[in-house]
Symmetry: C2
Subunit: 270 residues, 2 copies
């Protein structure tokens, strides 16, 4: 099932949408975080009457299991340029999954403001020269069958047990079968790659997201997104993961930052 179908939402009343965590969009039974955010974003965009998530912050409260979800949206302010809304994603039984606050707009008009960039486009070999993670025999990450990622060879050597020593992952992203990508797709793209800290020699298998904020600057154009994720500070039991995303035309399209938990090492966790 494609991304648009798997994140579809159905309005049932002024404030309520139904959605489904589709089988295959999970990692060990829990829905991917970007996928959940895209579901919330789709309902919020409908509620706002504006298609584009300009800035969306989500708190991850409990895992999203395969099955039905209820999304409730409440408009906080309907302004001329932005509509600001709160959303709650919960199970049918009412268990909170996601709490979201976001501002939506229509990014189809050019901004007509000065531009300035003080950052390098991440250097990436062509997609066919990057690394496609092969599904393991013991751990099958179903979510990875739904999207396409190609990792920079230098940032993918941890797969073979040789972490780069730098908490960075660069790579290409697109939807499967070349499905067109819109601004909501960017909410998926910013939380799809393996954790940056897989490239460090640290005893961490997973880093649960506490909160993720994504900013969308313009709608993406073209077939692949060029992405860079980086972690600079692992302190106090937390880490941030910053994402910068460009489209195939070299346009900077989105930025993300998540706060995640740095698990205690197994020997200290008891």
């Amino acid at each position: 099932m494609g991304f648009a179908s798997a994140t579809a939402v159905t309005r049932v009343d002024e404030h309520t949408w139904l959605a489904t965590v589709e089988p295959g969009w999970d990692i060990n039974g829990n829905a991917n975080g970007g996928y959940l955010l895209a579901i919330a974003g789709r309902a919020m965009a409908e509620a706002a009457g504006r298609p584009d998530p300009v800035t969306v912050s989500a708190h991850y409260l409990s895992p999203g299991k395969v099955g039905p979800l209820v999304v409730r949206c409440d408009t906080v302010k309907a302004g001329k340029r932005f509509v600001t809304l709160r959303a709650s994603v919960a199970t049918e039984q009412g268990t909170p999954v996601l709490a979201v606050l976001g501002a939506f707009s229509d990014l189809s008009r050019p901004a007509d403001a000065p531009e300035y960039i003080d950052a390098d486009l991440p250097e990436l070999p062509a997609p066919q020269d990057c690394v496609r993670q092969v599904q393991g025999e013991d751990v099958h990450i179903a979510f990875r069958d739904q999207i396409e990622m190609r990792l920079h060879p230098d940032d993918a050597a941890w797969i073979a047990g040789r972490p780069s020593g730098r908490s960075e992952i660069r790579g290409w992203f697109r939807l499967r079968d070349g499905e067109p990508m819109d601004a909501l797709t960017l909410l998926q793209a910013v939380d799809a790659f393996p954790p940056t800290i897989f490239n460090l020699d640290l005893p961490a298998a997973w880093t649960p997201t506490v909160e993720l904020t994504a900013h969308v600057r313009v709608r993406p154009v073209g077939d692949w997104l060029r992405c860079r994720f980086r972690t600079r500070y692992i302190t106090g039991g937390f880490l941030e993961e910053d994402g910068d995303v460009w489209d195939a035309t070299g346009r900077f399209v989105a930025q993300s930052r998540q706060l995640a938990l740095m698990p205690r090492p197994p020997e200290a966790a008891g």
Copy 2:
């Protein structure tokens, strides 16, 4: 009036707190954004029963004028480690000023997790060798009398009409009269400095905040905070401003990112 008093909140019922935008905490009549966030954070901390804002996202909906504010807090999830809440800051007449989503915790326990830093402490001359912005004769920014900031000389030359050409501001921050700083103070510190883009030769006088997210890693210790703010992408009519904050002991204490509007140049704005 000190920071703790100026951000004080009084609970009036289970969900409601009263606060006041004190005279002197404004810039041209509008309350500083970090100050408003600290007021919201103080009410949220009380509602949560946890003192420390681990991650807080605020959308700025209308200016906070001097006078009374009403803060409403609703708990989304009370977990073992985090209490997640929504807050709304509004005028007495009900005009929304701020919409907030945050997770609060108790950061007094050491995290006992691996640490790793891939970033430099910003190099700063001692506070007495940095630049204290003098209030102008034509524009008096009242807020600046309430806190103390000392800018890196290289990043302060724009005051004399010589922007550095790099969208960065480094400097020291503390509360006036050496008032002690807690985790809530960091919400103030991340939105106190002049806009980074004052160091670019761009026709922008001000950059209104759309949304600001702050992460607090540990409580600050000591007398001055060492801060660096940086903007890498001004595109699509938006810019981000990223803040990294260390305390006087060299500990990384907080991180922030705000999405702000890049105004159109005056000739195009009409």
